[in-house]
């Protein structure tokens, strides 16, 4: 694609972006969140139409009005969220996308075809299994096969490793190499540098909607790529030094809870966090980490077990009890849970403390609220924020700073933090990590839930690993390896 520009009101998401992917290569598209990666891919797959620029496939210019056009042009996409029919088998799902499949499906024959494809791509999958029986990694393989069987010559994968264990990611990279060797073109969208270095032949770096550079991975270092991506030199983050560790502040014993669909999401979880300690919670997304954070903070009622703060039992399912006991919470879904998006930044700053010093009797002291907001905006360096603007206008990083500012300024005893840096750019991640380090140094007991193992290894003292709602292992963050944790995450150790 050449000179592609896509504008949205107020922003130019892609500004004169050019991308050239050769036959038989794995090409990484690297950029921070908001750099325009997803917009570019939506242009390539026919979801958006570019305002300027053109797209060629195999030397022929193509016009992509819809995803159907893109598929016809041989462009296949594997989204972060899979598009599979859960109640059908692997072979049936693939046949749905296969334009060469006969009208009357012969089950045996279809399964045979899938087996051949699976073998050719080194992707072991049982073609007769129903989708809902498969792990997330296996479902992703089905998505890839679907794209291949529908005749894709260019395969685009959007952040494919976000839902995988390290071992599954390795297997995926093997498959991508095989596909490239067979003449497919693979585009890997990612913000993880080590993936780029590991699997890609070339990499195009996007920053602020522009394509900054296209380089061979064999000719650059990881740090050079990071600097290209961020636009300045970045120091690799140092591991947090263990601080002074005090008494147990937050303790859970035998917690169980149901998930949103009514099935058991949490089974007999016990853990304790001491003052000044960072306890990491690792696991592949959807293994009970979110429910754990919600039960600890009273948002979700427990079906069994107790939560104690400083030895005192919290009332179950009552967020106000947790807040009063000094448990601050940075929720995973910051836009819908962490803030009231249409309300002002000032309102969101006092979301939990409006009953306290910013009110007199039933009345709010609006001036004091505005002053409080202005002070926190300054202290936490929330750029571009004014107290009366609606919170939803803030970028992800600045929104997270508001949430952190509010939670930290309540002088909590314990802090439950879920996916605090998901979707943030490198600069914001550094800031958020800095605040977490400071909190632990101040003697706050921090429970950090994250899917990013690097983040956990950098910040945590201990790491517990969750699998299918239970804690399957605990490791010392200073002695553990990614492989060890990965095996626990996969539920095999």
């Amino acid at each position: 694609m050449r000179g592609v520009t896509k504008r949205f009101p107020g922003v130019v998401a892609n500004d004169d972006v050019s991308l050239e992917v050769a036959r038989g290569e794995v090409h990484a598209l690297l950029g921070e969140n908001g750099a325009g990666k997803t917009t570019l891919m939506n242009v390539l797959t026919g979801l958006y139409r570019p305002d300027e620029g053109e797209i060629e496939v195999g030397g022929r210019p193509v016009e992509l009005h819809s995803p159907r056009d893109a598929i016809a042009a041989g462009i296949g996409m594997v989204h972060q969220h899979f598009r599979l029919v859960e109640t059908l088998t692997v072979a049936e799902n693939i046949a749905l996308a296969d334009r060469q499949a006969p009208f009357l499906l012969r089950g045996r024959e279809a399964e045979r075809q899938v087996e051949l494809t699976a073998e050719a791509l080194h992707m072991p999958v049982d073609p007769g299994a129903k989708i809902w029986q498969l792990s997330v990694g296996e479902q992703q393989r089905v998505e890839i096969m679907k794209a291949v069987r529908s005749g894709s010559r260019v395969l685009i994968l959007d952040e494919p490793t976000a839902v995988l264990t390290p071992q599954e990611a390795q297997a995926l990279f093997g498959t991508l190499r095989v596909m490239a060797a067979e003449g497919h073109s693979v585009v890997l969208i990612t913000h993880k540098l080590h993936e780029v270095m590991e699997v890609a032949d070339r990499v195009t770096v996007l920053r602020g909607g522009r394509s900054i550079a296209t380089v061979r991975t064999s000719e650059v270092t990881r740090n050079e790529l990071a600097s290209l991506m961020v636009g300045r030199d970045v120091e690799p983050e140092r591991r947090r030094e263990p601080g002074e560790i005090g008494d147990v502040v937050l303790e859970a014993r035998g917690l169980a809870a149901r998930g949103d669909r009514g099935v058991d999401a949490l089974r007999d979880v016990s853990l304790s966090v001491r003052a000044g300690e960072v306890l990491g919670v690792a696991g592949v997304a959807g293994n009970g980490q979110r429910e754990l954070a919600e039960v600890l903070t009273g948002l979700r009622p427990a079906s069994a077990g107790v939560v104690e703060v400083d030895g005192k039992r919290l009332r179950d399912g009552d967020p106000r009890a947790a807040i009063r006991a000094g448990v601050a919470h940075v929720p995973e879904d910051r836009l819908r849970t962490g803030v009231a998006p249409s309300l002002s930044i000032a309102s969101n700053v006092v979301l939990k403390s409006y009953r306290g010093e910013v009110s007199r009797g039933p009345f709010l002291l609006l001036r004091r609220i505005a002053a409080r907001a202005a002070e926190l905006i300054r202290r936490y360096d929330v750029r571009g924020a004014v107290p009366h603007a609606p919170a939803r206008l803030l970028s992800g990083g600045n929104l997270q700073k508001i949430v952190l500012a509010r939670e930290f300024s309540s002088r909590p005893k314990a802090l439950v933090v879920a996916a605090p840096t998901r979707g943030l750019d490198v600069g914001a991640i550094e800031t958020v990590h800095g605040y977490l380090r400071d909190a632990a140094a101040d003697g706050v007991a921090v429970l950090l839930v994250s899917e990013d193992l690097d983040e956990l290894l950098t910040l945590a003292d201990r790491i517990v690993v969750m699998y299918e709602g239970a804690i399957v292992g605990e490791v010392d963050a200073r002695a553990a390896s990614v492989e060890e944790i990965g095996l626990l995450m996969a539920g095999v150790a």
């Binding site: 009005h65 106000r320 009063r324 819908r336 849970t337 009231a340 409006y354 009953r355 039933p362 009345f363």
Partner: protein
Amino acid sequence: MRIERRLVQRRWLPVAVPIGSLIVAFGAIAVVLLVTGHAPLPTFRRLFDAAFVADGAVTNTLISATPLAFTGLAAAVAFRMRLFNIGAEGQLYFGAIGAAGIALLLAGQSTWLIIPAMIVAGAALGAAWGAIPGVLRAFAHTNEIITSLMLNYVAALVLNYLIFDSLSYWRDTSATGQLFPQGKTLPDAAAWPTFTLGSVTVPFGFVVAIVVAAVVWVLYTRTRFGFETQVIGDSPRAARYAGMRTRRKIVAVLCLSGAIAGIGGASQDGDFRHVLDARGLQQANYGYTGIVVAALARYNPFATVLVAFLLGGLENAGYTLQGADFPSGLVGMMQGIILFAMLGGELLVRYRVVIERSGSVGAAEATT
């Protein structure tokens, strides 16, 4: 052609759109008037005249506007928290029942006692009727739209029962009352006062509505209660996360909404009808029109009173306009088109219509 959500809100839109809507509405009305053989411009003149200019026009407009201000405020209070209380109609009936009952009970007492008692009784019964959908919503997760709507029919049946189907305390049991069922006339001391401003007579109820609007404004912008309703309305998850007692607030807001509608019912008894007027209240549809009032005012309490005044004018002018040469159906049509255009225009404030020419992109590419 597609309809998209606006990504950027333009400042002039909330002003320009209603004006544009009115122009469109009057254009459409002009067409219908021409087809039916009426001259549009003189008709518009007469309409405006009868609503706001002629002798006694504003007085009559205020009479039409007072109940709409109450039901509009009732709707606005609930809708602000995304609680869709469609039950102002029934809550107003109950307010009227309560106020009439207490006025009859206190017959012979001072007017200083009776009028406050009517307001309190109207508010209390309206709140009680509003509490039913509130409790059901908060504790049983039923949809308050359906329950509050259904309770309107129940309230209407109660009203009919009290006046037509029983010898209740509210029914006139004299000889004529036996023959033609009607409510007992309220004592003279229960008649609400009026204020004269130049040539305009302002009913006490309208003054009460303005006071209620001010109280609602303070409540919603300056108090912890209002802050909580704002958060709950915007994001119930965030409210729960912040430790707010969501269920209590749902009940409280629906009670408040019902209480305001109930005062509207008391005002009907005290200001205008001086009797529990079962048939008249049911014909007026104040509760449903109040929803339109609140929507046009974007749930702002002061704007609600203003919109009630304008819609009251439209309604009042309708009575004046209709006659032998101007059928009432035509009046209804005019009112309908104006409301339709105003509400339809609201869509344009938040959404925009995109017209796509399918050939344009292809043509641009062909030339490069």
